[in-house]
């Protein structure tokens, strides 16, 4: 029933398209070259849900950036969980690729084509160039190219709807944080599932964004990572396979029109809404309600939400372990605080499945521990149990934090894996201690 109705909509849609006068596409040489550099990406990845190791498949888009086969896509298309990546070139030939690195904060990932295979099979590909997203204006015409719903090499057209949309999501990229350090391009070019990772380009075929997300159910509200951000991330990923950022633990909020209350000149200062407990900023004595006036002497202006990601980025770009001089106003006093940055960590720790127990776990990260007011990052979080398996039978459930196994504190996944290996070699009852919203319970995993 559903199928037939969707078919009729499809037919109606096609009919309408036939009636329309064909629009003249932008057919510059650059645009054609761009079209030939867009690829379809098929990813098989491992998941550790429900207490077992499982595989899932997804389709996304990407764009070839260089003659040596670098492909830019989204972090939510290709992540370190990927076990197999296949690229469909413009020639429709399929080639393997490897992940060079990812950066979920900006939702970008970098792949490299299997050049040996390309050479062996005599395949050809072209690459596109990154343009300058900083020069975009709202209203500029842009095209999205990608693989919506698996429809390879689909071009849609729209305009830039907004050049700097702030948008932060703490679980936006498969449970990982995104959007704290960049603003997004907003476009009304049609972007659907499968467009992810494909380029947003100007009429001359220059990449100004990487299409990433859209509001489900809304009409043509889609977002892309600006090429100016992508440029920096690509460089970092090529160089180190990862982008390292600094963390101090400040959570800014827009100052808007609180200048009067804080007795500030207009357009200066960032309101510190919150300071993460135990973070470098908290240890230095900063607290919620403080006003940050300058970082290392550079004045900051965080009046509006749009201005906050660049300020966060300014801190993130400092080398890890560097001492920042933060000028802070509290009440009528202004003084400098020295804060030594830490390496920024995701709240999502390493995951694993202990399959005979039917238990999947994730290492408790420092930031998960902070968010959940755990005393430190000891322990592993239960992210799934398989019904009928020992962990489920013992009474463990998703959200529990395993603190000890056979009386050993679980400081890392290694401890869990070692206890599991012992169990696999010689199954015996295994004692676990776990926290469930601060309450301690004991569990026995029985063979």
């Amino acid at each position: 029933m559903n199928l037939s109705s969707s078919r009729s909509i499809f037919a109606l849609g096609l009919g309408l398209l036939c009636l329309q006068v064909p629009l003249r596409a932008a057919v510059s040489r650059g645009f054609n070259q761009l079209l030939d550099s867009v690829v379809r990406i098929d990813v098989r990845e491992v998941t550790f849900e429900e207490g077992s190791r499982r595989f899932s498949a997804g389709i996304g888009s990407g764009v070839i950036l260089s003659a040596d086969g670098l492909i830019l896509t989204n972090a939510h298309v290709a992540s370190p969980r990927a076990v197999e990546i296949n690229i469909t070139l413009a020639s429709l030939e399929v080639v393997g690729a490897k992940l060079i690195g990812w950066d979920h904060w900006t939702d970008l990932a970098l792949l490299r084509l299997n050049l040996d295979e390309v050479q062996r099979r005599g395949l050809k590909f072209t690459h596109a160039e990154l343009g300058n997203s900083d020069k975009l204006l709202a209203g500029d015409t842009v095209f999205a190219v990608g693989t919506p719903y698996g429809l390879t090499r689909t071009v849609t057209r729209g305009i830039i709807s907004n050049t700097s949309r702030p948008f932060e999501d703490l679980t936006g990229v498969d449970g990982y944080e995104t959007g704290s350090f960049n603003t997004w391009l907003q476009t009304d070019a049609a972007i659907n599932p499968g467009n992810s990772g494909g380029p947003l380009v100007t009429e001359d075929g220059k990449i100004v964004g990487i299409n990433s997300r859209g509001y489900i159910g809304a009409d043509n509200l889609a977002f892309a990572i600006p090429s100016s951000t992508a440029q920096r991330i690509v460089e970092g990923l090529v160089r180190n396979g990862a982008v390292t950022r600094s963390y101090v633990g400040l959570r800014p909020g827009p100052l808007r029109d609180l200048e009067g209350f804080y007795a500030l000149a207009l357009n200066i200062g960032v309101l510190i809404n919150s300071v993460d407990p135990g973070s470098p900023a908290a240890r230095a004595g900063l607290r919620g309600g403080d006003i940050l006036l300058a970082i290392n002497g550079q004045k900051v202006d965080g009046r509006f939400p749009e201005q906050l990601p660049p300020i966060q980025n300014l801190i993130a770009n400092q080398p890890v372990g560097s001492a920042l001089k933060l000028s802070v106003k509290r009440g009528t006093d202004t003084r400098d605080y020295t804060v030594v940055t830490e390496k920024l960590e995701s709240r999502v720790g390493e995951e694993w499945a202990l399959e005979k127990w039917g238990l999947s776990v994730r290492k408790v990260s420092r930031s998960y521990a902070r968010e959940n007011q755990l005393s430190d990052d000891t322990g592993v979080l239960v992210i799934g149990v398989q019904p009928g398996f020992p962990a489920d039978v013992a009474g463990l459930s998703r959200g529990d934090v395993i603190m000890k196994i056979n009386q050993q504190p679980v400081g890392s996944l290694v401890v869990m894996k070692a206890a599991y290996a012992e169990y696999e070699a010689k199954p015996a009852p295994t004692l676990l201690e776990a926290l469930r919203s601060r309450r301690v319970s004991l569990y026995i995993l029985k063979p």
């Binding site: 804080y262 919150s274 309450r439 026995i444």
Partner: protein
Amino acid sequence: MKFYSCLLLTLSLAAGRLPGAADIPALWAERVKSVVAVEFYVETETDRQPGLSYGTVVDNNGTIILPSAAVDPRVSPDQLKDFKVHLAGETASVPGRYLGQDNLTGWHFVRVDAKLVPGLTPITAFAAKDGASAPGPALAEEVWGIGLRNKDEDFIPYIMVARIGLLQSLPQRSAIALHEIAAPGLPVFNRDGVLLGLATSSFGQSYLQFSRPDRGGSPVILVNVEESSVFHLAEEVLPYLGRVPKNVSGRPLAWLGAYGLEPVDPEVAQFMKLDSQGAVVISEVLEGSPAEKAGLKDRDIIVALDGRPLPRLKPGSVVVSYIDRELAKRVPGDLLAVTVMRGTERSEVKVELGDEPKLIREAGRKYFDRLGLTVREFVYGDAVALRVKSGESTGVVAHFVKPNSPVAIAGLHADDWIKEIDGVEVKTFDVAVNKLAAIESDRDRSEFVILASRGGETAVLRVKLK
């Protein structure tokens, strides 16, 4: 001698042959004088919620007990207003006075106006002559209890009859009947009219609803709040009827300071060779508590109190209530010997029980109507919940936030922790009250700023007053 034994035999035979011999209507007429309906109001910042409960008369002074569920535990005693007591089947009511809640039994005590007392019969009049040692009901025995209809039917009493299906320690000795046997808080009798116990709050019954559209849907749990199938036996009721609270707060309250008691599950107990008894893990020993002073540690496993091993109760979670009751039976200053397992070592710790720190329901509160906010004194329980050291805790708690009020529009939620007002740290409740009172009365003020904390994160909220 011969004659007497012969007579006894005859009597018992008669009882056996004629089970309906007892004159239930006559017993009924006497015993409905022991039950009342109690109406009251819970007065909040913006409205008055009516409350209704059923109660049992316990003495000749007009003292009535209501089951613990009669009043929401978050309600402070000073919010309880206008108690009115109705005799079963009577439209008219007389005023009553709220005396407080007993910590051990959970009962709320109410005393009725003297003029109603002559019409009441205390439930003790129907207790077995040898009191608490009377044998309880037998399995499958048919028993009866009293229910009351609603106010629109003048609280007419009616009878419920059922057989006993299960006798269990929860941890109080309790009987579970095969269906509803009395309204919660009202008495249950045997066929001779002897008091067997008081009905507690109802149990949920699970039903599988086959017409539900979702496949494999879980059962629907239905709870009959007006009638219950469970009652505590007379031995769990009669000894405690005299526990009339000395004040509405129910103090003195003994305090141990062991937080998050979790039962050790039977398989784990077996693994630890504790399978013949109950055991409970202490999740956290609270800062500054008697437990901490006595040297108890987080993760200690309690195995005995005053040398008596914890009983193995079913379900396992009941053993936590057992410990709570053991504490409630004691008063501050009492010594309690707690035997714990720490790793594989067993040791006994003597704890001098303390006085329970001020509870949320006892905390100072003040409502500011124009701001739309009730602030509440920050108490020890808040420090525990927020994981801050009680010495470091300042500020007040947003106890109530009026919908669409200035503070609600600014983004304040109930239970937010207010740390600063207008950029100045709020050190005490009085400071907060004075500051907010000044803001509220200043008609020229157009805004003020709150620093509030929620879930460990703070936010600056700007409250617009104009």
